[in-house]
């Protein structure tokens, strides 16, 4: 009973948030809606018994990425109005042949994937209530046995991200000044 409530609630928040992001004119509001959507995704993970993934979603996305986006928006001066400084309401390049064809291609791919998922879901036998079990220890066990290489490689990826972030934002010294 509660599984269904949790699922429906999470799904509604996820979809509602995602739609609000798309239809919002205000970048800052879109960020808030995105936060709701990410929370909903965490709820969906929780319904799938992936408790650690749900918590990671909260920590990394709700805590980190949303703040990063808010700072990125403030870096560009926030939302002064929906009209940008060139006096253009719409983003330039929106609604020409290129974008329509790209959107059409994306729609085809997405609908194909969706169709596949739905077909599989329909073919799957109805399961009973799944037993709740912790995923953390299994995950930890896999990370030190089967996926140890991936785990270590991810640290190199993170190292690259750390150094890259620092390098990009580093102030350039004025050369001819010395």
């Amino acid at each position: 009973m509660f599984d269904q409530i949790l699922f429906i609630l999470s799904a509604v928040i996820t979809m509602g948030g995602a739609l609000a992001v798309v239809f919002s004119n205000n970048l800052m509001h879109a960020c808030v809606y995105l936060l709701a959507s990410l929370f909903g995704v965490a709820g969906l993970y929780a319904t799938l018994n992936a408790d650690f993934l749900a918590a990671t979603q909260l920590v990394v996305y709700a805590g980190g990425v949303v703040i990063l986006m808010l700072f990125a928006i403030m870096l560009t001066g926030g939302v002064q109005s929906t009209v940008n400084k060139f006096g253009i309401v719409k983003v330039p390049g929106m609604g020409n042949a290129k974008t329509y064809s790209a959107a059409g291609l994306a729609a085809v791919v997405i609908s194909f994937v969706l169709f596949k998922i739905l077909k599989n879901a329909a073919a799957m036998p109805a399961k009973g209530q799944m037993a709740y079990e912790s995923t953390v220890e299994k995950l930890g066990g896999l990370l030190v046995s089967d996926h140890v290489l991936a785990f270590e490689l991810s640290s190199i990826l993170l190292l690259g991200a750390l150094v890259g972030a620092a390098v990009i934002a580093r102030p350039r010294h004025i050369k001819d000044d010395v």
Binding site: D3, G64, L68, L75, A131, E137, V148, S155, L158, A169
Partner: protein, 146 residues
């Protein structure tokens, strides 16, 4: 039984709904009880008694962005280390702690190298001069002399 299904998440949902109810309810009660006579001057933003100039939403320094980027790296790192940390004791008690320890130390070591790099290059400094140090000194002295 409550500990075999998703009922464990029930309090989270209940508390979040309670938060909505509490905030909404209190604001509603306040709306009924409080006076409301807004005036033009009352609704201006506070700027030390002067009329506010422009909006507050201006370009902010890039260092806030850098801090949050570095934070995300550490955040993901922490998220990856948590499962390892949770199983370490079990493996250690079984005498197989060395594997986890080695994985763990390598992971931390690689990231520590990144931190050391950022530190040496001065990326962890909050205040950084965009000019060379010599010119910067001149400038500050000029300000002081003025």
């Amino acid at each position: 039984m409550s500990n075999t299904n998703l009922d464990v998440y029930m309090p989270v949902i209940i508390l979040m709904i309670l938060a909505f109810v509490l905030v909404g309810g209190a604001l509603l009660v306040a709306k009924i009880l409080r006076p409301s006579n807004p005036t033009e001057l009352k609704q201006t933003e506070y700027e030390c008694g002067e009329l506010p100039v422009g909006v507050a939403w201006s370009n902010f320094n890039v260092r806030f962005y850098v801090v949050s980027l570095i934070f995300i790296v550490f955040d993901v790192e922490g998220a990856l280390m948590f499962p390892l940390a949770s199983i370490y004791k079990k493996y250690n008690d079984a005498g197989a702690g060395g594997v986890v320890l080695a994985t763990f130390l390598l992971f931390i070591g690689i990231l520590a190298a990144g931190v050391v790099y950022c530190w040496r290059k001065g990326d962890l400094d909050w205040v950084r001069s965009f000019q060379t140090p010599a010119k910067n000194n001149q400038r500050t002295q000029g300000v002081v002399n003025e």
